[in-house]
């Protein structure tokens, strides 16, 4: 693991400057069934291919952003600061 990740603020930086926070998931509503909740909390798709995931520039500008990365090659296709979902509670 030594690929470069492009921070939306700082540009390409070594990956060890960042914290990985896993796949971007869909958070179910507060009335979720136990199965839905368990799926969300514990299960990940773990795709062999392009995946959207959260990263945090821990030793840099401390921004949270989303990267699209090919898990087979570690090629990072895109990074962006996502627009917030807003303050509304999930469905």
């Amino acid at each position: 693991m030594s690929f470069l990740l492009s921070c939306p603020h700082c540009g390409p930086r070594p990956v060890d400057e960042f914290r990985f926070q896993g796949e971007v998931t869909r958070r179910p509503g507060a009335d979720a069934s136990l199965r839905e909740l368990t799926d969300y909390v514990y299960f990940r798709d773990n795709v062999a291919g392009v995946q959207r995931e959260w990263w945090y520039h821990r030793t840099g500008c401390k921004v949270w952003f989303v990267a699209e990365r090919d898990t087979r090659t570690n090629e990072v296709l895109r990074t962006e600061i996502p627009s917030p979902a807003g303050a509304a509670a999930p469905r």
Binding site: M1, S2, F3, L4, P14, V15, R19, Q21, R27, P28, G29, A30, D31, A32, L34, L37, Y40, V41, Y42, W54, Y56, R58, K62, W64, F65, N74, I81, P82, S83, P84, A85, G86, A87, A89, P90
Partner: protein, 842 residues
């Protein structure tokens, strides 16, 4: 014995250098390597082989083979043929019982053969099982290479340097130099031999260890590891001379042509008296041998059969195509093989090319280029896999002492792929990392399985390309420590300091029990600067905190404090602390000592998703904090501040900005330790002033141990000590913090599904159980102790334990295993000390 001056020699005869070998004083010249100086002084045997302890001498003189590994100034496995000679170095044999010349372990070579076939260690010495510790001890003594250097013997310090270049050229031969010169811009050339003057940057002597993703190339240069990030990489690693396979090919006196060339040209040493040359490449050293006055007894470009014979490990004759020839030097060449390892690591394909009998790199990854001999720019014809002849040991791998017989046996046992044969015989796994044996092993397997080299292929190339000291990979020894602004006060007081996470904290100041009594009876003072301290500010701050915590903070009045637990979306307890509302849009949040960074990142992550109009700022390092606690807290603090401390105007759970000893402080009236207390947060730079004033007012400093006793008496939980990743608010009996009428908060979805498999309860007992002791019920484990201390105030042992819900009842008797015996304890659900909290509110 030196030759007369050679054209272009590297030694400087006007600068003799003294050094010692095995305690004896020897002399070499500036420009020598340790190896060349030893050879010039008459040394021929440099080491003993890994398994059979056969004598070994200089073979490649290029730092590739294992033959010249010795211990230099206490550092084991130094390849002395490339180690520059420095004044006063202390050179010693390694891996021998006696000396390299007379090694008692050489008996393994005489009698061990039939008993130590390939893979013997997988089959023998496994019974009886209880004897294994003895076998292991013996084997550990016999196996391995050298002894790990003692930290004291002057390794010096290892460091890491980060560099970024547009173009990195690996290899300083003609092809590499030409490539570097052709680059217009930021270029660095790494050369594992001596450097050269050039218009571009040169790092030498330095060795590239591998090519990792993202163009990362670690380069070893003495005690410095360069982590070079390159936009483009040009590999110019050249080609490696290969050994031929024949009986006795490891005898002292068998050399590769390049070794002979360097010996004569660079160090002016005569490599032998009577030489035999075998192979296309070997004939090329005729010139050097003539200059050195070495008699050439025989030469053959492509012999049918060859075996070498010697006495006590040193070459005395060869049998060349059936004809015996006396000699003490056998120069052999099995041709050249492009040094493709770095390219293979980078992702290139490696293919066999039968016309020249070599593996060549193809399909290079983006950003990587190869030039010169490494690209396959070699003109030669392939050589036979094995030159059969009379004799016994024919080594495929001289690093690990793997013979042709071993490889054949591995094949017979079914290990017929190169990767399996490698793991079984350890061929290519030694210090040379396949530089001398990869091609030979493939050729041999192809011959023995009646296939061709393309079908056999190569083993996977992995970093490092050359052996590297572990210290270099570990870097300088760092033990990052965070010290509070009051650290020197604790040191002056003679505190015992301990690690809590990265923090250094005062554990106790001599008598923790007295520190506990001081807090209960009079006044104590503890440094709690390690607490995480976070400001959350903005119009969205109240709503953000409502959504981050199960409790509600939007209805918290300015100037008031509320306890909060951070949970995950799975409902698990992550951290805890207090939240003080300092204004309509400003909150001051504290976290556990080890949790501050994680909590801040967690808060920021959720707000990246939600987008509340609020700033989250970690002020942990900027502020110090200390807790003044005890019945005398108010009367001691009053003279130091102009603020009104009366219980009616500064209530329990109030937060006020007051000046203490002239220092502006945020005072939080909270009580982790159960007595009347004020937690004073102030600028780190002024912490000493506040601390000194409070100590002068009669406060006794108390440490972490006293605090642990005091908080346990109150039944206060330490997240991470009394809770783990499975704990939830229900099982920890903190359901009162959940405000489930909020539309959403992190962990809300889990609330209806929370399960209580165990409950956290207090207990009292007569015997002190260790933390982690089992709670036993009907013969099975029914829980565990997380904290336990002797409490003078309660008069018994008190503690916290997770137990099955059925026995989590007030007064229930539970059994705790202490030193193998069952001890009764009584469950207590309320705090052990001042359960109504009247002291906190007094």
């Amino acid at each position: 014995m030196r030759l007369r001056s050679q054209p272009g020699e590297r030694i400087d005869r006007s600068h003799p250098i003294q050094f010692t070998y095995a305690g004896k004083e020897l002399t070499g010249f500036a420009g020598d390597t340790v190896g060349s100086a030893l050879f010039a002084a008459g040394r021929r045997v440099f080491s003993r082989s890994f398994k059979y302890h056969r004598p070994r001498g200089l073979l490649c003189c290029s730092g590739r083979c294992p033959n010249c590994m010795m211990t230099v100034d206490g550092v084991p496995n130094v390849r002395v043929c490339v180690e520059p000679l420095r004044p006063g170095v202390d050179v010693r044999d390694q891996n021998v019982l006696g000396s390299a010349d007379r090694d008692l372990l050489g008996v393994v070579d005489k009698v061990g053969g039939p008993f130590t076939p390939v893979g013997f260690y997988y089959r023998t010495m496994i019974r009886p099982r209880r004897a294994w510790p003895l076998y292991e001890k013996v084997l550990r003594n016999l196996a391995g290479l050298g002894r790990v250097a003692d930290a004291r013997n002057g390794h010096g310090r290892f460091d890491t340097v980060h560099r970024r270049v547009d173009v990195l050229v690996i290899g300083g031969g003609p092809a590499g130099r030409a490539a570097a010169a052709a680059v217009d811009g930021d270029v660095l050339l790494v050369d594992d031999r001596v450097g050269h003057d050039a218009p571009y940057d040169v790092l030498a002597p330095a060795t590239a260890l591998g090519i990792y993703e993202g163009g990362l190339v670690p380069v070893a240069a003495g005690n410095v590891l360069y982590r070079i990030r390159a936009g483009r990489i040009v590999v110019a690693t050249g080609a490696l001379e290969q050994l031929l396979l024949f009986s006795g090919n490891d005898l002292v006196g068998v050399m590769l042509p390049d070794g002979v060339r360097r010996m004569v040209d660079e160090w002016a040493v005569k490599p032998g008296d009577r030489a035999v040359l075998v192979g296309e490449g070997a004939v090329g050293v005729k010139l050097q041998l003539a200059r050195a006055g070495v008699e050439i007894a025989a030469a053959s470009l492509r012999p049918e059969s060859l075996s070498a014979h010697g006495r006590r490990g040193r070459l005395t004759s060869v049998l060349l195509d059936g004809e015996g020839v006396d000699c003490d030097l056998l120069v052999v060449s099995g041709g050249l093989q492009p040094a493709y390892s770095l390219l293979a690591q980078a992702g290139a394909r490696i293919e066999y090319e039968p016309r020249r009998g070599i593996f060549v790199p193809t399909e290079l990854p983006d950003g990587v280029a190869v030039v010169g001999a490494a690209a396959g720019g070699i003109d030669q014809t392939p050589v036979a896999a094995v030159l059969d002849g009379r004799g016994d040991k024919c080594f495929v791998c001289i690093c690990e002492d793997v013979t042709t017989k071993d490889v054949k046996r591995a094949l017979a046992e079914g290990f017929d792929s190169i990767e399996l044969a490698k793991r079984y015989t350890t061929v290519t796994m030694g210090p040379c990392q396949g530089k001398l044996c990869q091609l030979a092993a493939t050729r041999l397997l192809a011959r023995e399985t009646d296939t061709d080299e393309s079908a056999i292929g190569t083993t996977t190339a992995r970093p490092p390309w050359t052996p590297v000291e572990l210290g270099l990979l570990a870097g300088r020894h760092h033990e990052p420590a965070k010290r509070t602004p009051l650290h020197s006060r604790h040191e002056t007081l003679g505190a015992e300091m301990i690690w809590t996470g990265q923090w250094r904290r005062a554990f106790q100041y001599g008598d923790p029990a007295a520190e506990v009594r001081a807090v209960h009876d009079s006044l104590g003072l503890i440094d709690v600067s390690t607490l995480g301290k976070v400001l959350v500010e903005g119009p969205g701050a109240p709503a953000l905190l409502d959504r981050l915590y199960p409790n509600r903070f939007s209805d918290l009045k300015p100037g008031r404090i509320r306890y909060g637990v951070v949970t995950s979306d799975g409902g698990r307890i992550m951290d805890d602390g207090t939240v003080a509302r300092l204004g309509d849009e400003l909150f001051y949040v504290t976290t556990t000592s080890t949790g501050s960074e994680g909590v801040v990142e967690w808060f920021e992550w959720w707000n990246a998703i939600w987008g509340y109009d609020a700033e989250i700022v970690n002020v942990t390092g900027a502020l110090a904090a200390m807790n003044l606690a005890g019945p005398r807290a108010r009367e001691a603090l009053a003279p130091l501040t102009g603020a009104d401390l009366a219980n009616e105007s500064f209530r329990y759970l109030d937060a006020k900005e007051i000046a203490v000893a002239g220092v502006p402080c945020l005072a939080l009236r909270i009580g982790f330790v159960g007595e009347l207390g004020y937690e004073l947060h102030c600028p780190a730079t002024d912490a000493g002033v506040v601390w000194d004033a409070l100590v002068a007012a009669g406060a006794t400093p108390f440490g972490l141990e006293a605090q642990r006793v005091l908080r346990l008496e109150k039944g206060h939980v330490i997240v991470g000590q009394d809770t783990d990743s499975e704990s939830n608010l229900l099982s920890a009996r903190m359901q009162w913090t959940i405000k489930d009428d909020k539309p959403d908060f992190v962990g809300k979805g889990a609330v209806p599904h929370l399960q209580v498999r165990e409950r956290l309860v207090g207990f009292t007992a007569d015997v002190l159980p260790p933390e982690g002791a089992q709670v036993v019920r009907e013969g099975r484990i029914a829980g565990r102790v997380t904290s336990a201390r002797v409490s003078e105030r309660v008069g018994r042992v008190i503690g916290l334990a997770w137990v099955e819900p059925e026995i989590a009842e007030e007064g229930a008797t539970i059994a705790i295993r202490v030193d193998g015996a069952m001890r009764d304890a009584a469950v207590t659900l309320a705090a052990f000390y001042d359960p109504e909290g009247t002291l906190l509110r007094s």
